[in-house]
């Protein structure tokens, strides 16, 4: 299906070809189960939870 004429010949806003980002589901395997890792991440960004300084 063709694009609307208004989209043709205009200057774009996406400056360069986009690269695919890593899929989160793939990033959380292998290792602990995805559910377990999701819980860890959630805990890390929970309000009031400050990370321990090393």
């Amino acid at each position: 299906m063709p694009l609307r004429p208004g989209r043709v010949g205009r200057v774009g806003v996406i400056g360069a070809p986009v690269a695919k980002t890593a899929v989160v589901a793939k990033a959380v395997t292998p290792g602990p189960s995805p559910v377990a890792k999701a819980a860890v991440v959630t805990a890390a960004v929970t309000p009031g939870r400050r990370r321990r300084r090393i």
Binding site: M1, P2, L3, R7, V11, I14, V18, V24, A44
Partner: protein, 157 residues
């Protein structure tokens, strides 16, 4: 005393604009209307304003077909969103966005303004602040950071 032009004033009130491409591999899409419901909830709550939507299909030979939201027969509640679209994306953008897609897949492209951020951004500008960087922290990076912390604490006893 100088006064801001209508365009300047409008730009000053504009929230950050983001985009996502959500890819559905061939044969893996199960459209139930749930995405539309959640999108409408964000619009109705004033969290975002949808600026543009395109549905892209990348053929096996690498060519890309683009479909406007208005090309869909039964838009349902999304009709209200469609009438407000600004058609920001140009033809060149379609090629750039489709570069991330796998052949045989379909993807939805969503451009939106973060209305929730506009008042804060405007206040920052009025205070003399200038945005010098922004971005998104991938969940993968958070996981890596947590794991590094855990490994470090284990090694340190």
């Amino acid at each position: 005393m100088t006064t801001a032009s209508p365009t300047e004033a409008s730009l000053d009130e504009l929230g950050p604009v983001d985009y996502v491409i959500v890819e559905f591999p061939a044969g893996a899409s199960t459209f139930t209307g749930e995405m539309a419901t959640e999108l409408l909830a964000l619009v109705d709550s004033g969290t975002i304003r949808v600026i543009d939507v395109l549905i892209l299909t990348k053929n096996e030979d690498g060519t890309v077909d683009a479909m406007e939201l208005s090309d869909i027969d039964e838009l349902g509640p999304l009709q209200a969103v469609e009438t407000q679209l600004a058609e920001l994306l140009a033809a060149d953008d379609v090629d750039h966005l489709a570069a991330a897609m796998d052949p045989g897949s379909t993807a939805g492209v969503l451009i939106w303004e973060n209305l929730w951020a506009a008042p804060f951004a405007s206040a920052a500008r009025r205070s003399g602040g200038q945005l010098i960087a922004n971005g998104r922290i991938p969940i993968q990076a958070i996981i890596a950071s947590i794991e590094a912390d855990e490994a470090s604490s284990t090694e340190g006893g």
